[in-house]
Amino acid sequence: MQMPEPNTSILASKGRIVARLQEVLPKAAVISEESETRAYECDALTAYRCPPLAAVLPSTTQEVSAVLRICHEEGVPVVPRGSGTSLAGGALPTADCVILGVAKMNAVLETDYDNRFIRVQTGRTNLSVTGAVEENGFFYAPDPSSQLACAIAGNIAMNSGGAHCLKYGVTTNNLLGATVVLMDGTVVEMGGAYLDAGGLDLLGVICGSEGQLGVVTEATLRILPKPEGARPVLMGFASNEVAGECVSDIIKAGVLPVAIEFMDRPCIEACEAFAHAGYPMCEALLIVEVEGSPAEIDEQLGLILQIARRHDPVELRESQSEEESARIWLGRKSAFGAMGQINDYMCLDGTIPVTSLPLVLRRIGELSKQYGLGVANVFHAGDGNMHPLILFDANKPGDLELCEAMGAEILRLCVEVGGCLTGEHGVGIEKRDLMVDQFDPLDMEAQMAVKDVFDPDWLLNPAKVFPLASSEARRATRMAAE
């Protein structure tokens, strides 16, 4: 993955830049020693690393503003960072950039149960937002699997999803307002503790903009009352096709489960070996979860089981207790860890129309044979967001490149059948060069024009999302201006 050459004049001015940052931040909040900047050299896409010029850890919106004003004056690129769990290289530094981490900004600023919102600093982790309100019977709905570690900052930047978004939506559907600091240090408020923001929906554009339009320091999030209860059912099928048809039939029947998770045989086997969840050995597994009172759950599950029976399931397991529910989820929740135990893997994130599921799974199987690399499929089937895990050996020369080439083919296939390159992880650097497969140059031009408005000098996270060749002219203008 190519990154732009660092700007040598910035590298040469490191001393001055660091000194200026130290003027506006406490000493410990500016990190510039090479031994310490290493901690910020990558995110969860660990194949790519580069220590930044410096990293700063501000504690307030005012400090963020002061940092950005200095970087703007000095023409220094800034890469915002939450917890560094991006799988797309979204928080990957360049040698001439300042990493702006919001990890210290993790306070709850306001909770309001009557109006059903919470306002937090964005360095707060996803799970601890729910943690702050669950005693009162509320929760924050978007639940990425990384929720123990990832920050609201990164969730907003990537518009992250989770297992339960079929019912509750993704981050953008649960974000009411944000405090955003623009690259020149201007602080703006978008939306707030009310439902429709006025004017153009700028909040909607900030969400999912991968840290390229502004640094989000505070967020007003919608919180929801916890359902009375939830119960999963596990179903095994003789083929991926049949499982796919069953998903489609459940949705058509008018039931809206909170989650429909899909696992194929390689994934089931790995989970069994690792977590011993007691899954049946079959070609495809579905975990379907519904919510409500006990009677409501019975009613919905009854209908779902009736549909499943029409597809000759090899196994139907309705949970009878909390422990059984936990066991059903155990394997799925440890799927990524399980795969990691047996192999290095790359996790893809394309989305496809649910109706193309059988076709896409078949093609992935063929590609797996062709490339000689194993693939395990585990994904959110209700919304078509696939997570094929391509298995490779990081120590074998050429295997990573082979894996990336195969990943690119799978993502192109997702686009071909009417889907997209990324459903929740973001483009970052990982899918940057595939953007041309989904968008015409003019489609991308319209998106880059938005960045021109928010960040005319292209200093915020500049080498991400758009292919370097597409953004080159804009980034070059900045270099020339210096």
């Binding site: 623009l182 929906d201 700028l202 554009v205 009352p225 009172s293 483009v427």
Partner: protein, 369 residues
């Protein structure tokens, strides 16, 4: 002008010598009236793709809303956001189009639970002010590829581009619905009761209150939808939970009356729409001292009917939220501004975006301010 294809539309915009007033069905004349040659998208019609099993619908922007709703109803599905019909309130005739719904981000009572139009919108095609056809988003409900211009186009009132095609995530229509009603609650109690209901696990998806302020006939309504047994169970549970606020009974209610602000129809006066924090609503309404007030979204949306020419924003002072002037004489709209004034840095960004998307300033110029 009434193009029949996106290509024709693009050519017309490219060739346009001056401002264009973009029009779907002409039923929602919100905003300062745009000067310019009328450009109708009513010729761009039809369902491009409908996959009930994937909950996905893609339609051309000029398709009548009624047609969209009928196509969905045939498969037992619906638009989650329950768009209102502005015709009676605004005294307009014509056929509302789906593009107009999106361009004005029109959402009804269910918005409080199911999200706004912008939340169900998953893809757009549009032609910008230079006559370039652009696509963003797509037809799948999970998609974070590139910037989300889909949200930006929703509620941009045709000032950033002319929509040619829109894609939605749709939902199954539930088999049963029930409403519970309490009579005679004052506004503050009603909002507290609605908050308690929306904060319960019973999935209330409509919470409205109307008190004809001078007739002393207040009703507070809560709606629940789903499978029949579960609806009955939840209605009972809610009546029990909300006892401290009043006496609740199951009632037959036509929600379209609240969705379309029917009590305000035919009453000569100005109509304002407030988006606020629900618990602030009663206080703001007291300050406004309107002729009539209708609360939706549990108090988060307040419709106010006030004497013609009233500067409501001046009466309310600073508050968290915004006030839009929906119905008034053109003179009043021009004097007060339809949309809530934005703080300078936000206005600068909005102006910057309009300048990029429509450098000649020909798309509904001045409509949003």
């Amino acid at each position: 002008m009434q193009p029949q294809t996106e290509t024709e539309l693009a050519e017309m915009i490219r060739a346009a010598p001056g401002p264009l007033a973009i029009r779907g069905g002409g039923t929602r004349p919100i905003g300062t009236p745009p000067a310019g040659e009328a450009l109708s998208v009513a010729g761009l019609t039809g369902v491009s793709l409908y996959e009930p099993g994937a909950l996905t619908l893609v339609v051309k922007a000029g398709t009548p809303l009624a047609e969209v709703e009928a196509v969905l109803a045939d498969e037992g599905q619906r638009l989650p956001f329950e768009p209102m019909d502005h015709r009676a309130l605004l005294g307009t005739k014509g056929t509302p189009t789906i593009g107009g719904v999106v361009a004005a981000n029109v959402s009804g009572p269910r918005r409080v639970q199911a999200g706004a139009c912008r939340d169900s919108l998953i893809g757009v095609r549009y032609v910008d002010g230079m006559g370039t056809a652009i696509k963003n988003g797509g037809r799948v409900m999970k998609n974070v590829t590139g910037y989300d211009l889909v949200k930006l186009m929703a509620g941009s009132y045709g000032t950033l581009g002319v929509l040619t095609e829109v894609a939605f995530k749709v939902l199954p229509a539930p088999g049963a619905t029930a409403t519970i009603r309490a009579n005679g609650l004052d506004e503050a109690t009603a909002v507290r009761a609605m908050s308690a209901a929306l904060g319960s696990p019973f999935e209330v998806n409509g919470a409205a209150h109307h008190s004809d302020r001078h007739a002393d006939q207040a009703v507070t309504l809560l709606r629940i939808e789903g499978f029949s047994e579960s609806v009955a169970y939840r209605a009972n549970a809610l009546c029990e939970l909300l006892k401290p606020y009043g006496d609740w009974q199951v009632a037959e209610v036509d929600w379209s009356r609240f969705r379309d602000v029917a009590p305000f129809v035919g009453q000569p006066s100005d109509v304002w729409r407030l988006s606020v924090k629900p618990s602030d609503a009663p206080g703001l309404v007291a300050l406004a001292d309107p002729l009539d007030a209708l609360f939706d979204w549990g108090g988060g949306l307040v419709w106010l009917r006030v004497t013609e020419g009233t500067d409501l924003r001046a009466d309310l002072g600073r508050f968290a939220g915004h006030a839009t002037l929906i119905r008034a004489a053109d003179e009043t709209k021009t004097r007060l501004g339809v949309f809530h004034p934005e703080p300078a840095p936000l206005a600068k960004i909005s102006d910057g975006l309009r300048a990029k998307f429509d450098p000649r300033g020909i798309l509904n110029p001045g409509l949003m301010g």
